[in-house]
């Protein structure tokens, strides 16, 4: 067991963890932040996407110990200070970018990372960026639309109908 200290969604936390504790386990089991989901065991699905020091990371690919001293942000830390949905979250709701909701936290975290790097991505760039995220419900159509809308682009002309 080793002690780790990190900032998670703006709050400092210190916990003792085993060396093989994955970041997913740390967030879900130790901190009870269950919005970070585990959808696979080969780092393919992206349901566990979080931000570590501002970078998009699949939490299943790192040990909690590796996050010692880091700034960590999860889906639970994305809403506005007043609790309302942030721009990306709101766009997902507005454009029906989620169904069962399981992949959604990872999608939102990926979208935030993309828009930070590329404020006005093209549709092709959005689709390419989502290469590491699997959704089984939506067919991605409305996820892509939501991300374009969150970037401030007009998607009304490319409505499904």
């Amino acid at each position: 067991m080793a002690e780790v200290t990190m900032t998670v969604n703006g709050k400092s936390v210190t916990k003792s963890v085993k060396g093989n504790t994955l970041m997913t386990e740390f967030l879900r089991d130790e901190l009870r932040l269950t919005g970070t989901h585990v959808g696979c065991d080969t780092s393919q699905c992206g349901a566990c996407n979080i931000h570590v020091n501002g970078n998009l990371v699949k939490a299943c690919t790192m040990f909690a110990g590796e996050a010692d001293g880091a700034e960590v942000s999860t889906i639970e830390g994305q809403a506005n200070a007043d609790g309302s949905l942030n721009v990306i979250q709101q766009a997902f709701q507005d454009h029906h970018g989620l169904q069962c909701g399981f992949c959604t936290p990872g999608m939102v975290m990926a979208a935030a990372s993309l828009l930070k790097q590329n404020a006005k991505p093209t549709e092709a760039e959005v689709r390419d960026y989502l290469e590491g995220n699997i959704c089984r419900c939506t067919g991605y159509h409305n996820i892509v639309k939501a991300i374009l809308a969150a970037s401030g682009q007009d998607v009304s002309g490319i409505a499904a109908e």
Binding site: H37, V38, T42, H96, F102, R136
Partner: protein, 789 residues
């Protein structure tokens, strides 16, 4: 102006807020005080005789609470199959035992042999490695035709062979043979409907709990139908009376059919919690899901289509081998029969349709319903053979379909179903308009200028949804009723909880269902909440599958709401001192017809619970009603789909350049949700057509057991938005349910695979390649091989 309220409004989903903020409550988010963890030791061989499972050393490992093996389940029921199919010789299908943990033999990779319950998952997994196994490997049974050959190894030693049933349905052989003998043209096609894995993004989870205080078990599970699990597990497996068993399916991260079934892990956790007197939790890994979730499809088919000299379809005959896997999963037997055979008429007035199905046991994971369940398999073969016939006859595939459409309704098919309504010409015309069919030659030229081949594929389909009249399915072998139920509980201050038997795992019931009640009562949706997924809270419902939620459970909700309105009008009449027949309900106000006298919804609901001024001599206090709804027929959504693909002749790579779906779902409650359902279904259908394949080698090893090997569709595999339209403007309302709805959940997955493959073949033919068929997934290597073979 589009509606923003009630039926037909694209209301934003209320459930999204919790999912978008990480506040969803999925089964793996549930942790109970003192819980232990289970790890299943699973077979790594396809077929073997268990000589010994020695747990002695493993039991001494740190943290181990108890290790269970098949011996612990002696005398306890196995997992039941919910549908009895009768062989064409009159015998019942063969139903092998399906123990919770393997007994005597292992029959597929992933078959659970032992279960280690420990203080932590890590300790359980470590201890499992110390279990000593002596399993004698037996020959794998993988190929279905080989499984039926003389001398084939038997999956179940107590059965005479590997044939579960040989089923025949529809037009009799003499009539069918005569139609083929008299045909001017016969087109034949052999094809495979590839084995798939449903892959909801949330792996299955089960948490069993037991209360000694009242001898009550609770199971939290990732299920589409908690009451079905309670009934099957309580009555058939563990012998727990239903009033002592509660099943909770909280937020469920997608189902697509594979979370309908009752699984060994659910029974195990419920059983083990009683045995060790503490909660027991199992969380599937994705790799484990690939070898323990029921798979889908896996049919090998030969279809023949007979046409007369005028190109009218005169007969269809189909012979299918359907893989059951090693055991009969809950609804497995019904998929290749009643959910497949009954759809073989398609949208066409073919007078003779005969369906033959051999269901086969193999040493593979059980196969059961997956999005569409039987209907994609029917549509794929029919629409592929029609396309081939059009090419052989040199006629336009759209015209050939159109000429043979059913145009008069109701229509009784030769395969036992009666389509109540439809307009196949309307969806075809809508598809042609949206697809810009006349512009295709120009688009093909543009592709060819880039060195690509371009193909156009079309497809029509019909499905039977809203499953189904209980008396009918009972005659067909179902061991369950297929009604659904809803309780509308109006609170004193006028807010409403609607407890429904349907389960929402992505379909948006929490938003769409209140729209119906709000419309009926004229109140705001925000006053209405939906409660689902907990057998201790909801009436006995059959759950969500077969695109049935709004058609069946929604109808129950309408009936219960009608009862509420009737009672509320009595109360209002009393308050207004008027005759009940004069009371009108509009916009949440009860008024006396022709007067300005009225009382508000809230006045009436308060009177029901504070009955000081109330007709107590005539009606009871309170305002809560339940209705069970059993439909009189299936619903028959139908549509016409088209797509254009570009094919790179250098690599065999296929991309989808344009896609249109024109569906008839009858009336639509929330268009936004409906379109989302179609998008999702189409993505799964395109996945089947181009990417996904669950593959076994000849030794029965599962080759595609992770997302490294099983190609899930990703965002860049699907058509771009500007070239993609899903339309549901053609609406022929269902004639026999109160909402006129048909269901939309499976259409995309049914309609899209043949559309894509038809387009690929068209592209190849345009390049001079005489390729008539490529089995799915139409991968670059298969396309390249077909071009260069």
């Amino acid at each position: 102006m589009p509606k923003d309220h009630g039926i037909g409004a694209s209301q934003k989903r209320r459930e999204d807020v919790r999912f978008l903020t990480g506040a969803g409550n999925y089964t793996d988010d549930i942790n109970l005080h003192g819980q232990a963890y289970v790890y299943f030791l699973r077979s790594d061989m396809a077929h073997g005789k268990i000589n010994k499972v020695d747990t002695e050393e493993a039991s001494k490992m740190p943290g181990v609470v108890r290790i269970f093996t098949g011996a612990d389940f002696e005398g306890i029921g196995g997992l039941p199959c919910g549908w009895q199919v009768t062989d064409k010789n009159g015998d019942p299908m063969k139903e092998p035992a399906h123990p919770v943990l393997a007994q005597g033999k292992v029959r597929h990779v992933g078959d659970p042999i032992a279960a280690v319950v420990a203080e932590s998952l890590e300790e359980a997994r470590t201890a499992a490695e110390a279990i000593e196994l002596d399993i004698e490997e037996l020959p794998a049974v993988v190929d279905m035709k080989a499984a039926l050959a003389d001398g084939a190894a038997k999956v179940h030693d107590d059965l005479s062979d590997n044939l579960c049933y040989d089923w025949q349905f529809g037009t009799d052989t003499e009539t069918t043979d005569k139609a083929f003998a008299e045909a001017a043209h016969v087109t034949t096609l052999e094809l495979v409907n590839n084995r798939l894995v449903a892959n909801p993004m949330e792996p299955r989870v089960a948490v069993g709990d037991y209360s000694r205080a009242n001898d009550e078990s609770t199971l939290y599970t990732t299920s589409q139908n908690p009451h079905v699990i309670r009934l099957l597990m309580g009555a058939f497996v563990l012998g727990i009376p239903e009033h002592k068993l509660r099943v909770v399916a909280p937020d469920v991260g997608g189902g697509f059919g594979t979370k309908i079934f009752h699984y060994a892990e659910e029974a195990f956790c419920t059983f083990a919690a009683r045995q060790v007197n503490r909660p027991v939790k199992w969380t599937s890994s994705r790799s484990e899901a690939f070898m323990s979730d029921a798979h889908g499809r896996d049919h090998v088919t030969k279809i023949e289509l007979a046409l007369d000299a005028d190109n009218n379809f005169t007969a269809v005959r189909t012979d299918t081998y359907a893989n059951m896997g090693a055991y009969l999963s809950t609804f497995s037997s019904s998929v290749p029969t009643w959910l497949h055979g009954t759809l073989m008429a398609g949208n066409y007035k073919t007078p003779a349709v005969q369906v033959n199905v051999k269901a086969v046991f193999t040493t593979t994971v059980p196969v059961d319903a997956y999005r569409g369940a039987g209907r994609p398999e029917a549509t794929f073969q029919l629409e592929r053979v029609i396309d081939k016939a059009a090419r052989e006859l040199g006629v336009d595939p759209i015209a050939l379909r159109r000429q043979n459409f059913i145009t008069q309704f109701p229509y009784e098919t030769p395969v036992a179903v009666a389509y109540d309504t439809g307009d196949y010409e309307a969806t075809m015309a809508k598809m042609e308009e949206l697809m810009d069919i006349p512009g295709f030659p120009e688009r093909r030229k543009a592709s060819e200028a880039k060195g690509k081949l371009r193909g156009l594929g079309v497809n029509c389909f019909i499905e039977a949804c809203g499953i189904a009249p209980s008396n009918l399915v009972g005659q067909l072998g179902a061991r369950a009723g297929l009604y659904d139920a809803a309780t509308v509980r109006v609170n004193a201050t006028g807010s409403i909880s609607v407890m429904v038997g349907a389960h929402s795992h992505g379909q948006g019931h929490e938003t769409a269902f209140p729209q119906v009640v709000a419309e009926m009562l004229g109140i705001d949706e925000s006053m209405i909440d939906i409660v689902h997924g907990d057998t201790s809270k909801i009436p006995f419902g059959m759950g969500t599958y077969g695109s049935r939620s709004i058609a069946v459970c929604g109808s129950a909700m309408v009936r219960a709401t009608e009862k509420i309105i009737n009672k509320a009008k009595k109360i209002a009449a009393h308050l207004l001192e008027a005759a009940e027949t004069d009371i009108e309900l509009k916009d949440g106000q009860f008024s006396v017809a022709g007067t300005d006298k009225s009382v508000a919804w809230g006045d009436v609901t308060l009177a029901a619970y504070v009955p000081h001024n109330y007709p107590l001599e005539d009606i009871e206090p309170g305002l809560e009603e339940t209705a069970f709804y059993d439909p009189s027929n299936f619903t028959y959504p139908a549509g016409a789909y088209a797509c254009e693909v570009e094919l790179d002749p250098e690599t065999g790579e296929v991309t989808i350049e344009k896609f249109v779906s024109a569906d008839d779902f009858g009336n639509v409650i929330n268009p936004m949700i409906v379109e989302g359902q179609v998008h999702g279904g189409i993505a799964q259908g395109i996945g089947q057509a181009l990417l996904e394949n669950c593959a076994y080698d000849e030794n029965g090893q599962l080759l595609s057991a992770s997302y490294m090997d099983y190609a899930m569709p990703r965002a860049d595999d699907l058509p771009h938005m500007a070239n993609y339209t899903v339309d549901h403007s053609c609406q022929t309302p269902c004639t026999h349910n109160p909402l006129g709805v048909k269901g939309c959940g499976e259409a995309g997955a049914i309609g899209s695979p043949p559309t894509v493959v038809n387009a690929v073949i068209d592209a190849l033919q345009s390049g001079g390649h005489k390729v008539e068929h490529i089995d799915m997934p139409v991968s670059p290597s298969r396309v390249w091989a077909a071009m260069n073979g």
